[in-house]
Every structure is written in C-alpha cells, then in structure tokens.
C-alpha cells in the first residue's frame, strides 16, 4: 500500500501494444482524475503489463500509483483506529485511509469484477466527492459468470472502458509531448453545439441511457482533440472518443446509415423482446431526431464488441450493461445473524468488539502487566490478544433455481401449469426475501433465462415470455443447473433446484437427436449432479408418469413428485414442503 516510488525503470515495451491500446493508455494519462479512471478488460498478460506500464510512465509526475489489494478492508480505505499502535502507546493512533490521501493517486484495483458492493460504494462516493484519485479497474472475468461483473456503480462513473483484446481500430500514435500539451490545454478545447447534439444523439442511438455517458464522451473528445493538437472538438475526435466511452456500453446497435440500404440482417430491436424489461419500452427505442453523420455511425458499428448481438438476443445484456442484480452486501459471508457469543479477533467493519469479554480476558493479567509496564500510569492494559468480537450465526439464504421444461412434449401438456406453479412459488419467495433463478430448456439447448435475482417482477416477465417447443435436452439442463448451483454456493447461499419436466430426454449432450443417447447422457448428468449434494426436487409434469423419470430423479438425488393431475397450487405446496424441510 506504500506508494510505489520506483517508477518503471526499464522503458515499457510499447511496441507490444496495438495502436488503439497505446492511444487509450496515453489518453488516460492526460488527466485521469477528470475521467474518473478506466475499466480495463483483460486477463493478466504481458500485453496488460505493457499497457499499465505505458500509463504509469506518462502520468503526471505528482500522481502516485497504488495497488488496492482485493481484500482491502474498510479501515484501510477510509481510515480508522490503528488498534495495535493504540494499545501499545496508550493513546489514540489513527491510521490514514487510502481514500484520504491529499495527493493525487491512481488506484489500481485487480480482480475488480469480484469487488464487493460496499467497497464499490465507498470508491464511488470518493469519486463523487472529487477526491484526488482515479481508478483503474482490472476486469479479469472469464466466461459469462453473471455474478462476476464490474460493479455498475463504478463502471458508470469511469469514462474509459477499454478491452485490450477487443476490436482493433486505427488510432493516432500520440507521444509524451502530446500528452503534456493536452494536459494543460484540454479544458480550453471548444465544443460546438452541433458536436454536443451529435454526442447526445449518438448515446441515444447506442441505447446508452445514463446522462453521465454523453458528458464523459465530450470530456474524452476534448482530450482527444487536445492530443491531436486542435483547438476544437471535431467529428474525428468524437468518433475516437466514442470507441472508448459509448461503444462498450451500447445496449443496441445503431440504425444503419441512411444512405446505404442496409442489406445486412437487422438485429431485432430490444423493444421487441419483453425479456429485457421496461427499459426498452417503445418510447425509448432511440428516437433520433437528428441524422447522425454516416461515418460516425459506421465507426460506432465497427467499435461495438462483437459478442453484443449474441448477448442482446439472449437477453443477457441487462446483466452486463447495467450491472444487473448484484446482490446486497448482506448476502455475502459477512452477513450477520443472531449474535451467539464471542471469539478472539480484532474488531473491523464486519466484527464488533465484545467489550465485556475483552475486559474479562484482560482482567487476570492486569497485575502482571502493571509490574512489567515501563510507565507508572494506572490504566487498564489491554493487548491485542485480549480483544474479543461478537460471533454471529450466519444467516443462510436460499436461492431457488427453477429448471423449466419448455420442450414440445411439455408445452403440449403442462407448460401452462408449470408456469403457474412457478409464479405461485415466486410470490412465496418474495415473502421470504429469497432469490430465484430461472433456467429453461427446449429445442437443442438449455439457457439461463434469469441469473439469481430478487427482482421477481423480472422473473415473472421472463417466464411469461418463455416459448414452448422443440426437443428435450435434459442432460444439458441438468448440467447447467449444476453449474448455477455451484456458483450460488460460492456466494455462500443455499441452492435448491426444482426441475419441472416430464423427463423424456430426446436431445443428447452434443445436440444430436435420439432418445437412447439422450437418456444415457441425462443419466450421467444426473449422477454428477447427485455428487454435489445440492437439494433438488423433481416435479414430473407428464400426464402419465413414466418410471424413467423417477429413476432419473433418484440418480439426481432429488425428491420425486409425480403430478399427474396436479394443479398449480398443489405443485407450489409440494415445493414449499420440500424446500422447507431440507
């Protein structure tokens, strides 16, 4: 946590960087505090090291470069009492928090995607307070784990979103002299009304609703113009700024330029997709009153991350672009339940001092310590070893994963009832403040309709929009349920998996048709699931329950409930009974 005084010795190997990455590094170095900082999406690699070294080498000389460890606690950030020193000296010794430094600093946060919400909130508050700092969040997420996204409170406040392994585009090669000049000049770069209008229209066209984005866009555009040595923001500067500010946040593709008749297949606008929530009601589907210059739009389309379209179609983007449903801090392992006594340990944000037990622990030693003490002061001598903190019973919370069979066979008979049952259960979960997740399978794959959330209205919407039809890829459904349950466990919550299916697998794991192979795969998946020991319940929704479903449920370690004539209410009651007595 000491400022790293030895600035990079060897010159960073800037040649390892693509032109765009180099330009982004130089841009960030101009005035990091005005930008709030940057979110960098890249795993640990020599390229990332070179990028960071480039930024560090060109920062203002007064700016310190500090790494914030992943497990930094409240006192280290916000300051607090230095318990050890206080006890030793017998007077209050304050520790200065990282966010309280008065000199400018760049805080490097590795593994930012796993940053707890409270820490993100403190950092965001520091940014809002104009504390002299900039953040560099390293997003090292892998795969599509929905819980591992940058905290949206912070993402929103950082102007630059950079992906080192993303698209490449042309960018000028700025030098150190450019950065120096831009640092002193960028604030005086002029912005015309037309450019401002373009900035807003562009944000609207890309479906970026927050008003922070166009402001950040203009700021970055000013810096780009200053780096280029011009005195006013032009179209080129705006376009380049958009690449780092708007494109990574896009929630929709811009309309094609008016002059070309767009033979390319148009993506379904999100407004057609009821999964994506109220944010996309028709009034917000980017009513661009003004025509955007075609070259800007083209650049926008090119700069949008390649996976965006796929994400949009899966309706997953809400989680990515808007932070989705990260859970409240209480859901973590530090969540407090009933106090159940004391344990040895130092008090910190999550552990409160148990005063009585501390004194009790210190009491027998007082005579001895008094004699050994260097001074004569008559005071209570408490050492670190005496400290006791409250112990709390952890509050277990449940996340119910509904795995809904939306295949053709189920759709024919019972999909409506299954949906009804899930809706009733959702109401139950609302009362208990449980979280729910929704997996659906049908056709050739299973997909997560809704990552664990408490926003039950969303759950209901995704459920209502669930179409029926296609095969029954039971194996991949069970596997996905297992993966999801494992990630729920990692968050210290108790998963309960509820399968609503007739169990007639006919799509194998590799996506091929065929009942034989499909049943075998499903059986294998079920056995693997059983090994995890996750509580599960199998509601057989078929009209004539078959023994194979019961076998599969048995292999899965699930309670099996055939529901030949069940109504939605009876299904709901059964699940309640099962999850109430785990």
């Amino acid at each position: 946590m000491k400022p790293n005084l030895s600035r990079v010795q060897a010159p960073p190997d800037a040649r390892a960087l693509s032109p765009a990455a180099h330009a982004a590094a130089m841009l960030l170095a101009v005035d990091p505090m005005a930008l709030g900082g940057a979110a960098l999406e890249a795993g640990a690699s020599p390229v990332r090291d070179a990028w960071l070294a480039t930024v560090q080498a060109h920062l203002p000389p007064t700016m310190a470069w500090r790494r914030v460890p992943h497990h930094v606690d409240r006192d280290a950030l916000l300051g607090g009492l230095d318990i050890t020193a206080t006890l030793q000296t017998g007077r209050r010794v304050q520790r200065q928090g990282l966010l309280q430094h008065h000199n400018p600093q760049m805080l490097l946060c590795p593994m930012a995607e796993r940053m707890p919400n409270d820490r993100a909130a403190w950092l965001a508050a520091a940014l809002d307070d104009n504390a002299p700092l900039a953040l560099l969040l390293l997003d090292e997420h892998q795969g599509d784990e929905p819980s591992e996204r940058l905290p949206s409170t912070l993402r929103e406040r950082l102007a630059l979103h950079i992906n080192l392994h993303g698209n490449s585009y042309d960018a000028p090669h700025w030098r150190d002299a450019d950065v120096q000049r831009a640092r002193s000049h960028w604030r005086s770069v002029a912005v015309s009304d037309a450019i401002r209008q373009d900035a807003c229209a562009l944000a609207a066209a890309l479906g970026v609703h927050s008003l922070r984005a166009p402001l950040q866009l203009l700021r970055v555009a000013r810096m780009v113009a200053a780096l280029n040595g011009t005195h006013a923001v032009d179209q080129a500067a705006l376009t380049l700024a958009m690449v780092w500010v708007l494109a990574p946040r896009a929630t929709q593709l811009p309309p094609p330029p008016a002059d070309e008749q767009a033979p390319a297949p148009q993506p379904p606008p999100p407004a057609d997709d009821p999964n994506t929530g109220p944010d996309t009601d028709p009034t917000r589907a980017a009513p661009t009153d003004t025509e955007l210059p075609p070259q800007v739009l083209e650049a926008a389309q090119a700069a949008i991350p390649p996976g965006l379209l796929a994400l949009l179609q899966q309706g997953l983007l809400r989680g990515a672009a808007q932070g989705g449903a990260r859970q409240p801090p209480s859901a973590g392992p530090g969540g407090r339940g009933r106090p159940i006594g004391a344990r040895r340990g130092s008090p910190h944000a999550k552990a409160r001092l148990h005063l009585l037990e501390t004194l009790r622990a210190a009491a027998p030693w007082q005579g001895l310590r008094q004699r050994q003490a260097a001074d004569d002061a008559h005071r209570l001598r408490v050492t670190r070893d005496d400290l006791r903190v409250w112990r709390h019973k952890p509050r277990g919370q449940t996340t119910t994963v509904f795995v809904v069979d939306a295949s053709g066979s189920a759709a024919l008979h019972r999909l409506a009832e299954a949906k009804g049952a899930v809706e009733l259960l959702l109401a139950e979960c609302y009362v208990r403040r449980d979280r729910v997740a929704l997996l659906a399978f049908g056709g050739s794959t299973a997909q997560t309709l809704l990552p664990p959330t408490r926003a039950l209205a969303r759950a209901k919407r995704s459920l209502a929009a669930l179409p029926g039809g296609g095969g029954t890829p039971l194996a991949s459904a069970i596997e996905q349920a297992q993966t999801l349950a494992a990630s729920i466990r990692r968050e210290q919550q108790r998963p309960v998996v509820v399968m609503l299916t007739d169990g007639r697998a006919n799509v194998a794991r590799d996506g091929s048709q065929g009942r034989e192979q499909a049943s075998q795969d499903a059986h294998q998946a079920a056995c693997a699931f059983a090994a995890t020991g996750v509580a599960a319940l199998w509601l057989d929704t078929s009209v004539r329950p078959q023994p194979e479903a019961a076998q599969l449920a048995g292999a899965m370690g699930a309670r099996y409930l055939p529901m030949p004539h069940a109504t939605a209410e009876r299904m709901a009651q059964a699940v309640q009974a099962a999850s109430g007595a785990p």
Binding site: R74, I83, T89, G90, R91, R92, N117, D118, R119, A121, A125, D128, N130, T153, E156, R187, D193, R196, Q197, A199, A203, H209, S210, L211, R212, A213, P214, L215, G277, P278, D279, T283, R284, P287, D289, T290, R318, Q322, A325, R326, Q327, P328, P329, S330, A349, K350, R352, L355, R379, L380, E423, L426, A427, Y430, R433, T453, L456, A457, R458, K460
Partner: protein, 344 residues
Amino acid sequence: MKWTYPFAALVGQDEMRLAMLLTAIDAGLGGVLVLGDRGTGKSTAVRGLAALLPLQAVVPGCRYGCSPTSAPQACPDCSTLRAPGAKAKRPVQAPVPVVDLPLGATEDRIVGALDLERALSSGIKTFEPGLLARANRGFLYIDEVNLLEDHLVDLLIDVAASGENVVEREGLSVRHPAKFVLVGSGNPEEGELRPQLLDRFGLAVEVRTPTDLPTRVEVVKRRDAFEHDPESFCAQWQNATEELRGQLLKAQKRLNKVSVPDQALEQAAQLCTALGTDGLRGDLTLVRAARALAAWQGSKTVRTNHLREVAAPALRHRLRRNPLDDTGSTTRVARAVAECWGET
C-alpha cells in the same frame, strides 16, 4: 471552494424536484424515495437542494449541529456546552449538511457507538456519534437504498420518523436529536424494498432518463458548462437560485397558516379507501403534502387540485399489490383519482 450544481439549473425531472422541495418545506413529510435509472441527477438534486437552503445557526462545538434556540437538555453536547454556568459562545453559520450513507456502512457507524479509542486507551466510556448525528438538521442520502440491509433501513426510517436517535448498547445510554430528511434512491430492477419499508417513506417519485433529444442536449450542455467553469455558471444562476430560495422560505413561513378544510380530509380518505392503502399513513402524508404544495403555491387553503398533484407521489408506493403484478402503480393512482374526484 467546492461548487454545487445549482438546484435551479436542473432540467426536467419536475416530479422529483417538486417532491424534494415539498420535503424541504415540511420536513415532517418523511423523506423521498426516488426510484429509477442511473445518471438521472438524483444526487445532484439532493446536493443542490441542500445548498439552496440558507445557512443555519449552529451551536459551536456541538457534534450534533444543534440550533442555539433548541432545548439544551435534548443533546448530550449542548447540555454541557450550554449549561447554565457555561460561557455562551456566538453561534456559527453552517450550510445544511448532506450526509451520504455508503452501502457498506455498519450499524455502529450509523447510530454511533462506544468510542473505542478512548475506552481502550484511557478507559473512559464515551459515545462516538455516527452518521445520524452528522445528518441532524440536514439530509441523509442513501443511494441504492434497496440494496441496504433491511434492518438498517428499518432503523433509519425509525429515527427519521421520531427525530431522535436512542442508543442503548455496550452499556451506553445516549439519546440525541436526529432530525433529517431521508432521501433514498434505487432501481427496483435490482431488488425491491420490503413493503413495510416502502410505506414509511413519505413521498415516492419515479425518474426516467429523458428520452427526447433536446432535453438531453440541454442537460449535457448545462452540466458541461458547469464543469468547465463552475464559478461563472453559478454566478449566472445566482438570480434564479435566490428567487427559488426566497420562494422556499416564504412557503416555509406560510405552511402553518394554510388551512385544511374538512372537505379535503374527506377527499383524501375517500381516495385512500378506494386504493385500499393499509393504515392511515397514506391519508396523513397526502394531506401534509397537499398542504406543503399549497404553501409553495401561495394558496391559503388546500384544494382538490393540490391533492390531485401530490396523490401519485404520496400514494404510489403504498398500494397493496401482488408482487408479480406489473400494472404501474402510477396508473392505478391516476385511475382512482379520476374515479373519486372526477377528471380534470
């Protein structure tokens, strides 16, 4: 010098601005809950409103920011600072405080706790005031209140309603004034507040990012101008700010003189019955908000149009609802208003 974006320069978001002004006029309204998107100027509005209010006289040295005219016994600091024998100091003028409550704040930090430092180092039992003490006579702003732990929200609303913070823990027994306007914000898509908690916010407003381009451009233009040169921007808005401040002060003075005819009370009760709100908090808030609005608009009595204007913010979060019913509560209130009091 740190500049605050002037409240008068906010663009759009009329309902949120009105709701915030009403709570400034009548602090007893019970706070505002702002639900909606990110980046819609929620925190800008809160800070701007606090800056809009005139400086207030504060007892020097009092950690609870007490007014020199308050009863000295009410606060632990004032009872020694302003004890009959003590030498009285001149009150100081301080801006209205806005305290941010970070999501990770612990109960200790909010309500205050035993001063660990003094307890350990010198063995003296003293109380270290928390965020509630700092927010006394000001605003407590909680971003993403829906992500705050339920028991903390409970506690905050309790204190906000009673205006007093009572601490009974670790052998301490302290009570101190904590009168503040609670402003919570959140996005219901990311988790919902329990209905019990919703009900205890006075007003609830919904904010949306403006979708029409001219408004967005205007917002960006003003904000950009402010960031570029805050001093001259604030100077430019000085007159508007002063005017708004004058209006606000007048409304505060008028508030007690506004009469509430029985007819208005009946109308309020009629609407709340039609909507089936639980308890009487809805009726009370509706009438109080209408009175504050009447004071703001300079009328002497509360009329139907006042009730009509505040019906949605006062009641929309109190409707008994099926958690899975998507029908907007705003629509339901509007429908009931039209049924009970006729169309405008």
